[in-house]
């Protein structure tokens, strides 16, 4: 495949075609293939489930005629291939069907709950980046020192700790015993519904409204789950930063810069760190995607009304439309972030070409 394309590019001799159009086309095809794959998997999951979607609508005692009518209305009498294409069409139009649990369209539900997850994951990633990058840099510069050991332990613990258990322990210590933070949920009950929902992210909404008491309350609720969630991205980001930095620090240009007499601070934070920024952005995008997904369990612990809790609640009441709709949305975002980080890498790193 690659060879064929090279030949084509060579024959036409247009560098524009070779460097931009063909790679862009390839990327689009791969995005489309991945998304089709995701939809195929969710479609299959929806078909193999032991619950009969028709029965759950018409009920046990429905007559054969009613049953068949409902089956036809759902399109389940058509061949599977046709059903798959209908399903793709629905998803493209943003139609995931009705949720049995909330009796709303799933897409509306997701629009309502998603900002809560976004707020949590964004704050978590911020925490991970702000602490993780400097920790990784220092660990690499002072390799083998105590701070390197600390970074190592931080990462090991992060890779080994069940996130839901860490959440429980956090609640126990910082809410139950010390009382430093707000408890589960996004707000205390008497702060709810005060600020108008513009973005759905309470911190931003209350700031826009200038209502700082709501902001403070929301912050006291989000700070613990976001920190604990962010700990996982801290573990990952600091580890990756360290190994990228080690690679740079052994390069010759660093020696040159030092020999020239540049201050060590400039060498490390400007030259070395500057050169790994593309790799870092890639890692940050990946860890952001992971946090969006990882927030599922954290949301349960902290009664956080986000997409993770939505999917789980739907799961426990066999509301498959909501489960699959949620899975597709999380999956699409995950895939897009993955591809975005890939593209960034290809775009900014001349060696990747």
């Amino acid at each position: 495949m690659a060879l064929a394309e090279q030949n084509r590019g060579g024959r036409r001799g247009s560098p524009f075609l070779k460097h931009w159009v063909i790679p862009a086309g390839k990327t689009l095809v791969s995005i489309a293939a991945t998304m089709l794959g995701l939809l195929f998997v969710t479609f299959v999951i929806g078909r193999v489930m032991p619950i009969d979607p028709v029965l759950s609508i018409v009920g046990e005692s429905a007559s054969k005629a009613t049953y068949d009518a409902a089956r036809e209305a759902l399109g389940l009498d058509k061949p599977l291939v046709v059903q798959f294409f209908i399903y793709i069409g629905d998803v493209v139009r943003g139609d995931f069907g009705m949720s049995l649990l909330t009796a709303h369209p799933v897409s509306e539900d997701i629009k309502r709950v998603f900002p809560a997850t976004l707020e949590l994951a964004t704050l978590g990633t911020l925490f991970g980046v702000v602490l993780g990058v400097p920790l990784g840099v220092i660990a690499a510069v002072k390799r083998g020192s105590w701070i390197d050991q600390v970074a190592r332990v931080v990462a090991l613990v992060g890779y080994s700790m069940p996130i839901f258990w860490l959440g429980l322990m956090g609640l126990l210590i910082f809410y139950g015993i010390l009382g430093w933070v707000g408890g589960p949920g996004r707000l205390d009950i008497f702060y709810e519904d005060i600020v108008p929902a513009r973005t759905g992210m309470i911190l931003i909404d209350s700031a826009l409204d200038g209502n700082w008491s709501v902001f403070r309350n929301a912050f006291s609720h989000i700070v613990l789950p976001a920190t604990l969630l962010g700990y996982y991205s801290l573990a990952y980001i600091s580890r990756m930063t360290r190994s990228f930095m080690l690679e740079q620090l052994s390069a010759e240009y660093i020696t040159t810069a030092r020999v020239k007499g540049l201050p060590e601070r400039t060498v490390i934070w400007r030259h070395a760190l500057g050169n790994i920024r593309v790799q870092l952005i890639t890692v940050i995008a990946l860890s952001y995607a992971n946090l969006l997904e990882g927030s599922v369990l954290t949301e349960i612990i902290f009664s956080w009304p986000g997409i993770g809790q939505y999917i789980t609640n739907a799961l426990l009441s066999a509301d498959m439309n909501a489960v699959l709709g949620g899975t597709v949305v999380v999956g699409l975002i995950f895939i897009l972030l993955n591809i975005f980080s890939d593209l960034l890498y290809k775009f900014f790193d001349p060696r990747a070409k």
Partner: protein, 309 residues
């Protein structure tokens, strides 16, 4: 082995020799050298010791557990750790937490072993076929692998379990279904380098078919890098299984699965902290052990990538 005359050579010298007399000796010496490197790594040894301990605990659970893990005692419910006869306290139904943890180690090992067989096995199959066959088979298989690699694992496992129904076996299946792609990639990369080597050509000239080449000559060489990856992944598998158990999608009550135990203890976390804390510590210890062991094994088996993690 072939030397028959009596000699004072100790086992150690026999293993450390530079000139092995037989294939068996050479192989044993290679293992011994690996073991020496591994033994020098204190963290990895700690991981190994914890895991051996886990194996022993699981094997001798009926003898080690002070009480039956299922016997309820409502009069003695929610006893704190250190109370009489309950070293780690009791849960909301008065069951001894220590005994439940000990029996729960069996479930954890069961899940880990199954996933460690299924996921790398599937990955090895896909990866070697893709790598050896090349052409459109390679393109198609790797495209599928990439697609699976791009999926969010936990959410997809959730959806799988939702469709298949809750239970340990389904949780294992769901985790394996989301865990195989990295193995396929590793196996393919290894196959590509092996495929063009001289000895494969030699085997081919002797008339070996592709099936024989893949199974007898490519698989054995892929194993070591797969093992490292498996060990490093096991921590993640334990966490995923515990997560599914916590959500009520894995092992079902009254099974003493650690994740499910945390979920039971969650309701009492503020007043009776130990019910959820103890199983969490168990999960943490075991997945930490796998991480430590994996790091150590990587240094022994795969010195190239020593500084990645």
């Amino acid at each position: 082995m072939s030397v028959s005359e009596p000699h004072k050579e100790s086992w150690r010298e026999w293993l450390m020799t530079d000139a092995p007399h037989s294939r068996g000796q050479a192989r044993a010496a290679a293992w011994y050298h690996g073991w020496l490197t591994f033994r020098g790594n204190a963290m990895a040894m700690a991981g190994l010791i914890i895991l051996v301990g886990l194996l022993l605990v699981a094997a001798f659970a009926p003898w080690l557990a002070p009480q039956d893990p299922f016997t309820q005692d409502l009069a003695g419910r929610l006893q704190p750790p250190g109370s009489e006869g309950h070293l780690l306290g009791t849960d909301s139904l008065g069951r001894d937490i220590l005994s439940r943890l000990i029996y729960g180690s069996r479930i954890t090992l069961y899940i880990v072993l199954l996933v460690a067989l299924i996921a790398p096995g599937a990955g090895l199959l896909v990866g070697t076929i893709a790598g050896y066959a090349g052409g459109w088979i390679d393109v198609v298989l790797m495209r599928i692998t990439d697609i699976f690699l791009a999926f969010p694992r936990l959410v997809l496992a959730l959806a799988f379990v939702a469709a298949l129904g809750a239970g340990i076996e389904n949780a294992v299946l769901a985790i394996s279904l989301t865990a195989w792609p990295p193995y396929a990639r590793i196996a393919r990369a290894e196959t590509l380098t092996i495929r063009s080597s001289d000895y494969i050509s030699a085997v081919k000239l002797q008339g070996a078919g592709p099936l024989r080449i893949i199974i007898k000559h490519i698989w054995p060489l892929c194993i070591s890098s797969l093992i490292v990856r498996v060990t490093l992944d096991m921590a993640g598998v334990i966490l995923a299984a515990a997560g599914l158990g916590f959500l009520g999608l894995g092992a079902q009550p009254p099974s003493p699965e650690w994740g499910a135990m945390i979920s039971e203890g969650r309701k009492f976390i503020l007043d009776h902290w130990w019910v959820a804390t103890m199983p969490g510590l168990a999960i943490f210890t075991v997945s930490l052990a796998f991480n430590l062991l994996g790091d150590g094994l990587r240094d022994v088996l795969d010195p190239k990538s020593g500084d990645q993690g």
